[in-house]
């Protein structure tokens, strides 16, 4: 059993970070120049880390699979970024943001990391404004705020419905400045296929140049993984088509632990699936629930007629509608947290009340708000979202209710990291969505952007210096070391195997199959029998993939099918780990709902006595089962309570 110690300073919570900073070792500017750092990924976490490390004077190499760093999927975040600025003077402070995040995460996050995140949050806004991020403002010229789910204060900063885009452009511009100054070197259109470990330390990566197919070796004194979430394991998700787990997965296979893989966030307001050919799902911002009312028909016969398009939702009278969130959760109504809203939608659809041609949709109705506030006011708040909805669905939400259904959106699980964001491998760090540290079992809205930027701009630059201060005598790492040779051999062998399998099914065929297994057995609701069945199904799929995948094209050329094949093979292995994790966690918490663990009226039931721990999994070889280690969670500041939104 590995002893998992987060290593936060042993002082009161509020003093930990300043105490850490006061004591951490620094690297002198002359020595920084001699130290190389690799950053994998250019989303909010990766770009902000690479820019800051470059600015500090380290030699940074940054990698992305996209054609330019500005396209990373952080760009798609709509709603906003939280910060405990208390500009509205409505009672917010660092402690409250910390408390909301711990509670929203259903008491499965680490207090020390979350407190630090909350305490850093105001600085992020300062920096972004200085970079030119055009946040929404009041007429007085100062910054505007809005409220978000799971909180009682307005602490969300936003840039219309494109906050992620504007923050990413800020980080990208800071990164571009460092590229121009020569402190950061950019490698675009690269997949990172392996992490190289030399004498127990992370010393480099193996990259595939996606344009030429060339296998490249890159060495460094430290490696930072910022490769984002793994929601695409479900095939259909709101993630970008290229979002993948591969860099994090290769870190796992090289010794880093993977924590709480089963914690997946299913977002309640997405555009429903409309056909077999569908390639991805689109999110509609959570902010819509501020003015939209969610309902399904009260009678099954009405639902049936709606599915067959014999009647329209406007034909159903008020008395024949079931506003099920308002009915079940009178206190929070349509603004219950994401996990609760998602499960309630599934419950109604499973019971036969779903609408849309597939029966897997519920209505989000704005007619009351339009009557109350006028169409103009609704258009000012949600105009771009309504337009987007109409573009995709060809239906006008001003006239007829939107149809929505939950979809996979974010993954709280990821590489296990300590207080310093270091994995269990010395010199290997994980930041942003690809680590597990801050959101517990459920992430609050507008907190992903906050975490990515906190990690990259303000945490990692301090914590990595402690490690690098002991590396100043290590000369540049040679890429001809036997460990690099072996890694290149392994990568090349696997690519050859994929190419030469010459089976009969395309990569997408396997990815869809995996997605269906994961959604059915490890999605919004999970049970022991289903999870056990899923392990068998995934094992079969893994073998079928190895024997029967068909990858056209060559190795030494631009070959998108080959890229996908590698990623999907990793997703299949990850799927197995997620299911095992979901199986061992015989409690319901946050996004993880075990049917065996619920209250008599169907609400999630947490089990703090047995499961107040982080499950961190260790890879034990391809033919052995992974081993689970525990990091016990101690709640010294916030006493865990059962969440209630009734």
């Amino acid at each position: 059993m590995i002893n998992l110690n987060a290593g936060a300073p042993k002082v009161p919570l509020a003093e930990q970070w300043s105490s850490y900073k006061a004591g951490c070792k620094l690297v002198n500017p002359n020595n920084k120049r001699k130290l190389d750092i690799i950053v994998v990924g250019t989303g909010l976490a990766g770009a902000s880390a690479a820019a800051t490390l470059g600015q500090l004077g380290y030699n940074v190499k940054v990698f992305c699979y996209q054609d330019t760093p500005r396209r990373a999927h952080s760009i798609a975040a709509q709603g906003g970024i939280n910060a405990a600025k208390n500009y509205p003077n409505d009672g917010d402070n660092v402690y409250r943001l910390f408390y909301d995040t711990i509670k929203g995460g259903d008491y499965r996050a680490r207090e020390s990391n979350v407190y630090r995140l909350a305490s850093i949050s105001p600085r992020i806004i300062d920096l972004c404004v200085a970079q030119g991020v055009p946040f929404a403002r009041e007429y007085g010229g100062l910054l505007a705020n809005r409220s978000f789910g799971g909180t009682q204060v307005s602490r969300t900063f936003y840039a219309r419905g494109q906050t992620g885009q504007q923050l990413l452009i800020g980080a990208y511009s800071a990164l571009s400045r460092q590229i121009a100054e020569g402190t950061v070197k950019l490698y675009n259109r690269r997949d990172i296929l392996d992490v190289v470990i030399v004498e127990g330390h992370a010393r480099g990566v193996i990259a595939r140049n996606l344009v030429t197919g060339e296998i490249e070796r890159h060495s460094a004194h430290a490696v930072v993984i910022a490769s984002g979430g793994y929601g695409n394991v479900f095939y259909l998700s709101t993630n970008a088509m290229g979002s993948n787990v591969t860099p994090a997965w290769s870190a796992y296979k090289k010794g880093a632990l993977f924590a709480n893989p089963c914690f997946t966030q299913i977002h309640p307001t997405c555009i429903p699936v409309h056909g077999e050919f569908q390639s991805k799902l689109t999110l509609m911002s959570e902010s819509l629930r501020n003015d939209g009312r969610i309902w399904v028909p009260l009678d099954k016969s009405d639902a049936e007629k709606l599915r067959q398009k014999k009647i329209r939702p406007e034909d159903i009278t008020e008395a024949k509608r079931d506003y099920y969130l308002e009915r079940r959760y009178p206190a929070f109504g349509n603004l219950v947290p994401r996990d609760v809203a998602s499960r309630a939608a599934k419950e109604r659809c499973d019971a036969g009340y779903g609408v849309g041609t597939t029966g897997l949709a519920v209505y989000l109705d704005f007619s009351d708000s339009i009557r109350r506030l006028g169409k103009e006011a609704i258009a000012a708040r949600y105009g771009n979202l309504f337009q987007m909805y109409e573009q995709i669905v060809a239906d006008n939400p001003y006239k007829t209710p939107m149809m929505i259904y939950p979809a996979v959106h974010y993954t709280m699980g990821g590489l296990w990291v300590d207080y310093e964001l270091k994995t269990t491998v010395p010199g290997l760090y994980a930041i942003g969505e690809c680590n597990f540290s801050d959101h517990g079992a459920n992430r609050l809205g507008a907190s992903a952007l906050m975490q990515g930027l906190a990690d990259g701009y303000f945490v990692l630059p301090y914590t990595i210096s402690g490690y690098l201060s002991s590396e100043i005598h290590t000369p540049q790492i040679s890429t001809t070391l036997p460990e690099f040779e072996e890694a290149v051999r392994n990568v090349t062998d696997r690519l050859n195997r994929l190419k030469n399998t010459n089976g009969s099914e395309s990569v997408d065929h396997f990815h869809r199959k995996l997605g269906k297994i994961m959604w059915e057995y490890c999605g919004m609701s999970r049970n022991e029998a289903g999870l056990k069945k899923a392990i068998g199904l995934i094992d079969e799929l893994k073998k079928e993939f190895a024997a029967n995948v068909k990858v056209p094209g060559g190795l030494k050329e631009y070959n998108p099918e080959l890229e996908k094949a590698w990623r999907v093979q990793d997703f299949i292995e990850l799927g197995d780990l997620m299911v095992r994790d979901a199986l061992q966690r015989r409690e319901s918490c946050g996004g993880h709902f075990r049917e065996e663990s619920q209250t008599p009226d169907g609400e999630a039931l947490r089990n703090d006595d047995e499961f107040a721990f982080v499950a961190a999994w260790q890879f034990k070889g391809d033919s052995s089962e992974p081993e689970m280690h525990r990091e016990e969670l101690h709640f010294e500041t916030v006493a865990p309570s059962q969440r209630s939104y009734k």
Binding site: A76, E138, A240, G275, A394
Partner: protein
Amino acid sequence: MIFTLKIWRQKNAADKGGLVTYKVEDISADSSFFEMLDLLNQQLIARGDDPVAFDHDCREGICGTCSLYINGRPHGPLKGVTTCQLHMRSFSNGETIYIEPWRCGAFPVLKDLIVDRSAFDMIIQAGGYISVNSGGIPDANTIPVPKPDSDAAFDAAACIGCGACVASCPNASAMLFVSSKISHLALLPQGRVEAERRVQQMVATMDSLGFGSCSNTYACEAECPKEISVVNIARMNREYLAAKLFAEKEKQISFSL
């Protein structure tokens, strides 16, 4: 729905390339343009052909990865929509659709429909930022910014860097892209500090990368999926002229010293 597709195929940058005709059937009107291409690719893979390579990622109209001329128009027939947000219901059944990569000297084709847009990154690296470090920053509310200025800065900053402006321009000019960045930063007090330096460096880099000049056809504004206004180009020209005058003055002062 049934479509005849004429798609540009090109093995690599050195290959000459040409249009190849394909037929697709059973396409749902609700499927997106890329889902239609996905289906074509599944058919090509099944019969052992090389699938069509195209750039795409978020498929929700914000990352700017997708491109394509569709029947000669960047991002296809609809206004204010990226290729990934285009659906087959916007085409008529049985239609022949021409699909080609961006054509511009500064955006060389890498394979099939994929082009290299690194030139845009190089322009941003020449000054498309505010030179601040991640420390020593004043409180975000220290400098009030008039809401109209902030809104106008946002409008310019909505650019997704897809390159449709260059693709639509008869001169392959990058003025709309560059001016949107110049405007975004010049409209904010935080960005004024180095505005003169920025506009000169970015314009010089743009010119050196082989983009053409602007001749006011406004095709860029018409085809921009984010509907960025050509007002930004006027603002950039003003900024540029003022910066040049200022630079001239600076030189004279140093001369007289």
